[in-house]
Subunit: 345 residues, 2 copies
Amino acid sequence: MTSDIILFGVGAMGQRIARLARERGYTIRAAIDMDPAKQGIPLGRLADWQHVESGPVVTGDIAEALKGRPATVLHATASFLRDVSPEIDACLQRGYDVISIAEEMTCPHVADPTIAAQLDATAKHHGARVMGTGVNPGFAMDMLVLALSVPCGRVDHIQVIRTNDLSDFGPTVLRTQGVGLTPKDFVDAVAQGSVVGHVGFAQSIALIARHLGWEIDSVTETREPIISSVAREAPHLKISPGQVAGCRHCAFAHIDGHEVLRLEHPQQICPGLEGQATSDQIRIKGDQVIEMQITPEIGGGAGTAAAAVNALAYLRHAPAGLVHLTDLPLTSPKLTTFPSQGDHS
Amino acid sequence: MTSDIILFGVGAMGQRIARLARERGYTIRAAIDMDPAKQGIPLGRLADWQHVESGPVVTGDIAEALKGRPATVLHATASFLRDVSPEIDACLQRGYDVISIAEEMTCPHVADPTIAAQLDATAKHHGARVMGTGVNPGFAMDMLVLALSVPCGRVDHIQVIRTNDLSDFGPTVLRTQGVGLTPKDFVDAVAQGSVVGHVGFAQSIALIARHLGWEIDSVTETREPIISSVAREAPHLKISPGQVAGCRHCAFAHIDGHEVLRLEHPQQICPGLEGQATSDQIRIKGDQVIEMQITPEIGGGAGTAAAAVNALAYLRHAPAGLVHLTDLPLTSPKLTTFPSQGDHS
């Protein structure tokens, strides 16, 4: 087993992945980012390592970064398949495996079956593997649901509620959730597509349906404003009573006209100020009822970085092609020892 | 995919498995039981189907039951490897896959590495697969822990508490937990081995350690009486204040002298009478803290039958030999359609 990996994307999540991978004994052989402002800088300085000048120098030259013996690329640049597929394709063409945290990569057929089929074919042709992972989609609203279904003889209905706190996020994320808008402006922004809510419901639904053998007829979604009754203040934004604190985005999947799956994801700043605890809740109704609660909710940032690094020990054993999380064993954090630890400082 | 299966063991759990397998569209081609009192009786009568005279007639003749095209055997006869391995071996010798709910089969190397290696070799030689599953061991204290570790970058400590209610169990089970004894007699019974507590801690610890790459140095166990402060009455037993309501069995695993895993399993009759809710609780401490609770606890009987039937769709894709649950994808209840549903009545 080699400990070499490549980092593709050195934003906030890429830096988190870099720190964790390094702690876990992996050697980051090259780091790619398309932002000229990051190129030429040692990864250690961007990711705030102790020896800030160490690690590979960030490059925008994919061909330069992906040379030598193929390794696994940890990919963290964007959410949507159409944006990330050329980057992933470039890695697969060179026989490099790819683990991406792009939300749509957890089940890419849902976003675009043609692109998904192309990635699968390219990977197979070059003997490489590609998968997506993360906390949501990838865990809280799909893999954890499937885990809880293992002792069920029959599943009739699934409800998942993930209540989280957006307070630590920057203005870009808060804008996509409508934080700070008036309720009326929120409705307009949803109609115009500038308030998008959560990215990943379609993937979570598809991962669950695929694994349970369900054929979903229709999916509906709602995006409603969470209107604050109190003043709330996050590092990047302050809102007054009556303003929007966030977006309650829900998805409902049906079979034969019956709702079988309900995913609710209220995302807002400072839910605690109205007595709302953050949590992950799952309720499965079938031959038994299983009601699960995790409080506070599983950390999205830390959890997604971990899910990506943890997958390194598992993807290499999968057959070439497009791999779904649901086809792998549980990607738990495996303690691994490498032939030569080398110098990771 | 064939829908044919064989049932080995027609006790309470075997009957549960038979009912669920039938509901799920599987055809039970033969049913084996070594108890002469069950032989010669149609499975439908034992398992209380609507058409009680239907289904295969229970036989004690393994060679007779295991003829024709190999299928998967659902095995539910006993808990310990030394008792079940001859039965399982007989199936593997004939090229039949085996899914067993024997507790020690979830990780048989822990109970007896020689027997485990023999089963693995026999299975490989005949191109068959063998695995163990169930709720505990097999899910509540191991697989579910591993599922929750997926978003963890590091796991430092795991605590699992499974609090259940023994009220529905018969005198044999209540005796193995010391229910109705005086506290002094409980201590003596533990020393003599007649109060055993839970069977499966060693397997749960091994499944977790194997999957996380942990090398456990030592495991200690404690069995303490749960002394009732109130009168409690279950269908098969009544106890007075001061008597033992059950056994709090715990296991503690260590690496380099540090506790890394703590499994607590208080089993008793009527815990609700002292305000104790039944539940499954897991706490993982690492780079994040994950605290999960399921209330009430996952049903042991229903869950174990489901885990066994659910595994049918997954084991057939595993390589020949001894298979561990942790090496499979999540064995969720997959809706399957069979080429010919036939008549399962």
